[in-house]
């Protein structure tokens, strides 16, 4: 029973265009969401997060949108750069009631940005 799903295993975009990575979740108790980026042979690195009290969080070229009613979040990268080519993991956690740091990850989406 996978509570966090990334239904697109891969995405290819042209340099300079927008990349949109999607993530769906099923557990309505989740109140904090994160995106991690992973290069081959390295561990995931934290990219951006959003609390469930917000619907948007922006950090430079990266913006995360949260639609609680649809249990859906997305990561927008504008403009996309070849160095953004990596696997992107969506993760969710329950923070307000009992924060233990337990993250539930999706299976990742491989982004390829073509020059």
């Amino acid at each position: 029973d996978q509570q966090v799903k990334q239904n697109s295993p891969s995405l290819s975009v042209q340099e300079g265009r927008i990349s949109i990575l999607n993530c769906d979740y099923t557990n309505s108790m989740f109140d904090y969401f994160l995106w991690y980026k992973k290069y081959p042979a390295e561990g995931p690195t934290f990219l951006i997060s959003i609390s469930s009290i917000k619907d948007k969080n922006e950090d430079g070229r990266f913006t995360v949108f949260l639609n609680k009613s649809a249990k859906h979040l997305s990561l927008h990268i504008v403009p996309s750069q070849p160095g953004d080519s990596a696997v992107y993991f969506c993760a969710a956690s329950v923070v307000r009631s009992s924060n233990t740091g337990k993250l539930i990850f999706g299976q990742g989406t491989t982004l390829q940005v073509k020059p």
Binding site: Q2, Y32, L34, Y36, A41, E42, G43, P44, T45, F46, S49, V87, F89, A91, S93, V95, N99, T100, G101, K102, L103, I104, F105, G106, Q107, G108
Partner: protein
């Protein structure tokens, strides 16, 4: 100046053997984690320690035993290895409280059980 390091990076072993993976962080964090990334690429939490105290213990066979000698180290010992244990194991660390979720990951250990 590696933040979270794991040894070894690759581990190939026979079924039935016992092996350990070591993890160390020099970030001054007080919480450490072990994750398993299986063949379907899902990253799943296995254990978490805060100041040497076990705080997350997911449904993991008791052949897996984490050991935290101090808050900078969290080792994973696996007894009687099985084929299904083949995976990439990631160690991570964070600060407790508000920063629990911004976890710093090690490079991973690829375990292959033959």
């Amino acid at each position: 100046d590696t933040a979270v390091s794991q040894t070894p990076k690759y581990l190939v072993t026979q079924m039935g053997n016992d092996k350990s993976i070591k993890c160390e962080q020099n970030l001054g964090h007080d919480t450490m984690y072990w994750y398993k990334q299986d063949s379907k690429k899902f990253l799943k939490i296995m254990f978490s320690y805060n100041n040497k105290e076990l705080i997350i213990n997911e449904t993991v066979p008791n052949r897996f035993s984490p050991k935290s000698p101090d808050k900078a180290h969290l080792n994973l010992h696996i007894n009687s290895l099985e084929l299904g244990d083949s995976a990439v194991y990631f160690c991570a660390s964070s600060l407790a409280g508000a920063h629990y979720n911004e976890q710093f990951f090690g490079p991973g250990t690829r375990l292959t059980v033959l």
